[in-house]
Amino acid sequence: MEVNILFKIAAIGIVISIINSVLIRSGREEQAQFTTLAGVILVLLMIIPLLTRLFSNIKTMFQIYY
């Protein structure tokens, strides 16, 4: 179930690389920059819930309460 997210992120990275090189080749550097930013934000939105889950799991397992 969770393994899918790895392939998703790798696919996003490869697709953004391709889009980026196409946009740079056709002379739209600014849009290429925005594509890069959008990719980073997209992946960040995917990994933040996962990171929250990891931290809350560790907290409950090792009984850390602050």
């Binding site: 393994v3 790895l6 990275g13 090792f62």
Partner: protein, 128 residues
Amino acid sequence: MEIIKIVGIGIVCAIFIVLLNKDRQEIAIQLSIVAGIVIFLMVLNKIGSVIDVLSELASKSNIQSFYFNTILKIIGITYIAEFGAQICRDYGSTSIASKIEFAAKAIIMYLSIPIIFAVVQTLFKILP
């Protein structure tokens, strides 16, 4: 046969990270974070059952639960800090990694002060 799954995930992730590392390093770092999280979540319930057994043993052998909880807390803090520091170090921010480790050491010292205090108190009781 969890280990075969985990090794497979690790190798596939490493290949993807090498592929993305050239010009999409920001995605490669996120991919490595996700790989770490997924592998940890796969072995989570096994660590949980080990901790359950250990806490039962501790309660049977009359160790105060406060001390056991402190040790558990220290292990958890170490794991989280190591996770963050490794990722920072992998992608070149060595200074931030060492600051994370310093913070973890400070917090661990703060948590272990009661234990040190108890040890010293016992020592004073034994010594004439």
